[in-house]
Subunit: 413 residues, 2 copies
């Protein structure tokens, strides 16, 4: 069996300074693995033409495919094009059609194109450019002696879109194709999931692995075979058994999100939602509106961060006098008030202490979430200490998780 | 000047599968930079003795210090010790004192030591071990011809503790200490920044580099010298000139955020803010409430995602009939209405098309932001196609950028 090999080269001095974690390389590695490529090395190198050419050259000398990300910007520091040209012994030229596209992109924004951006229209003989519909840096696809270099821009959105639309469809597949899927769960800990799936997690093919993530526990089922259909068939019985055992905790797969699952349920039932947030400060609404079509079911969201804003949104002053702003009763009152005011079928509310300091003598991380619906109000207490952003994220996930479980009719919150 | 150079080698096949992001390498890179080491390469390599030895050997041949993390476990897959021995042409032996410590550690947990763990007591001539108080894998410190290899375990807690207690105190400092700062800008593209700073971005020390980030363009100014004060003094005139040229676009440095800069200005002036968001769907509020103390100045934030919600918040039906929801006039009306309703000093509004499909015949990415204050309303058009999340992020940054520039009294938006 002839395994295809690939290497990943991440370009950027900032990646060597410890300021940024390189998430592109891990993402690309996962993609390559699913396409059946064996990745033996990932290298990060700074914005230095000699070191860059040396690194790309070495990778090109030992792998079938080299995937480079970064260094395609318009500045003197962006040297990926120069380095690839050096490796290929070629001289870049300005490509008229690319230049025209760049100028059009700037013109559509009503801005003149800075001269530096001209190098983004460069190409070398035998190479072709990869369209970047959401940025100014086109990618490069270079072939030499049956080997390929693909260069993509560093910003993750641009890189991923280019990969999905322009790179992946054209790459030859490796001889062992991996099929995998990830199930997302809510309301169960990693230890319990692992226990429920014990005899599968030690098998190699198909493999079952659990991961504790911010949004809940993920379960990944994977199988490798000569073709995608064979791999999928190999995984199928194991996946079915995994789903049988943990299905009631599963809310989605792969790209699915908690907000997306909620949105689908509300949209298909023709129901509406309102949101009132204190501690999460807009994050619940932000997560919900990442779902296309959210305006169909998300009627209103309010950030009632202060006591006055809570009163203005219908929480009684007396209740606030008794409990303060951070209390289960307040979360419930907030959810009930916003639902009534907006006339929605459902509502969700959050309150808590984001930190860095305690509030009302209550500790950082203490939070309450509440959901009101046709059958009344349910609420939940959360309390893990953490950084401000962590507290916001955990509380927002807790609120959406409670809403989803109630929407699904789970008996326990 | 003799700059000390370092390379980072991360070991582990799992890091090449795309399931894990390598956070160790970024952390170590930051530490090395502060100690005055120049890091030119980071390499990730799998659990393969030949590839591992080749990678460590190459790094050892060109850097003063090689920092390896991972591959020190007790299994057959853990090959870092073997690879370092290969690089040094040495044969590992079992170190009696290390073996005794390992056995004691297992005994204290009431467990016999599995035979596999014996290799964790290996050492090579001339090397010394690094204590690991919270795991079974001691580290290695190897010196040859004035160069050093440090190998540490992969689990981040163990690695960081070993680094802080056993590695960092003994490392020679680089002869050149790096001082650096990053300026955050808003309202200007990378090409334009690079043009304004052209003669600096090609200098090596002090160095000036630009980076396109989600929140805007960053400019990093760095200088290396024998001591921190000298480095800072070397950077000072260049930094001053950079600030003179692009200062009106700079809103903060290093850990500062756009929301934090706005919060500081509002808090120190005793002024208040209200927010009304359509296209950004809560993201503006979320960014603002990431700033501690936001409840002092953020009075209310509303997500008015639907036409009905805009009307409910005071935008006239006639205006919506004429312009639809996505129009500069609507952003302005939203900002004016929320400011009046909440009685705040300032208000900010967003409307636009997040996608994936167009709306009202208007393209994805078209967005308008408006700010109302004591002197009236200012607004801005944005229009850069992109993924839904990107559109939200760019529009939120555009809204906060406009607000900040007006708060600072900049004449141009």
């Amino acid at each position: 069996m002839n395994n295809r090999t690939a290497e990943i080269v991440s370009v950027g001095t900032e990646l060597l300074l410890g300021e940024l974690v390189d998430t592109n390389a891990a993402w690309i590695a996962g993609e390559l693995r699913r396409l059946g490529y064996y990745v033996y090395y990932k290298t990060t190198v700074g914005d230095n033409r000699v070191r860059l050419a040396e690194t790309i050259g070495r990778a090109f000398g030992r792998a079938d495919l080299v995937v480079v990300s970064g260094g395609l910007g318009p500045t003197d520091d962006d040297l990926t094009r120069e380095a690839i040209a050096d490796v290929c012994g070629a001289v870049p030229h300005e490509h008229p059609e690319l230049l025209r596209q760049l100028e059009t992109m700037f013109a559509s924004r009503g801005r003149p194109m800075p001269p530096g951006n001209r190098k983004q229209a460069w190409m070398i003989p035998g190479g072709r450019s990869l369209e970047n519909p959401i940025g100014t840096a086109p990618g490069w696809w270079i072939e030499r002696d049956g080997r390929t270099i693909v260069a993509m821009p560093g910003p993750p959105h641009e890189m991923k879109r280019m990969w999905n639309e322009r790179v992946k469809p054209d790459l030859p597949k490796g001889s062992s194709i991996l099929w995998d899927t990830t199930l997302h769960t809510i309301g169960i800990g990693e230890g319990n999931v692992a226990e429920m799936l014990a005899e599968f997690t030690t098998c190699a093919n198909p493999s079952v692995a659990t991961y504790a993530r911010r949004h809940g526990v993920d379960v990944r089922v994977a199988a490798g075979a000569a073709g995608m259909e064979e791999a999928r068939a190999l995984a199928r019985p194991v996946l079915a058994e995994v789903e049988r055992r943990i299905g009631r905790f599963v809310y989605g797969r792969d790209e699915d999100t908690l907000a997306g699952a909620i949105g689908s349920m509300l949209a298909s039932a023709g129901k509406t939602l309102s949101v009132i947030e204190s501690v999460t400060g807009g994050l619940v609404a932000d997560m919900l509106t990442d779902t296309p079509g959210a305006s169909e079911w998300l009627k209103t969201a309010v950030v009632a961060y202060t006591r006055a804003a809570k009163e203005m949104n219908g929480v009684s002053a007396e209740l606030l006098d008794v409990h303060g702003c951070v209390a289960e009763e307040i979360a419930r009152a907030m959810a009930e008030a916003i639902r009534q005011r907006c006339g929605t079928d459902w509502s969700v509310a959050t309150t808590g202490v984001a930190g860095p300091g305690e509030a009302e003598g209550k500790p950082v991380g203490l939070a309450f979430v509440a959901v009101t619906g046709p059958a009344g109000t349910r609420s939940m207490r959360l309390g893990w200490p953490g950084e401000r952003r962590q507290v916001k994220e955990r509380t927002a996930n807790g609120a959406l998780g409670l809403l989803l479980r109630i929407l699904r009719g789970d008996s326990e919150p």
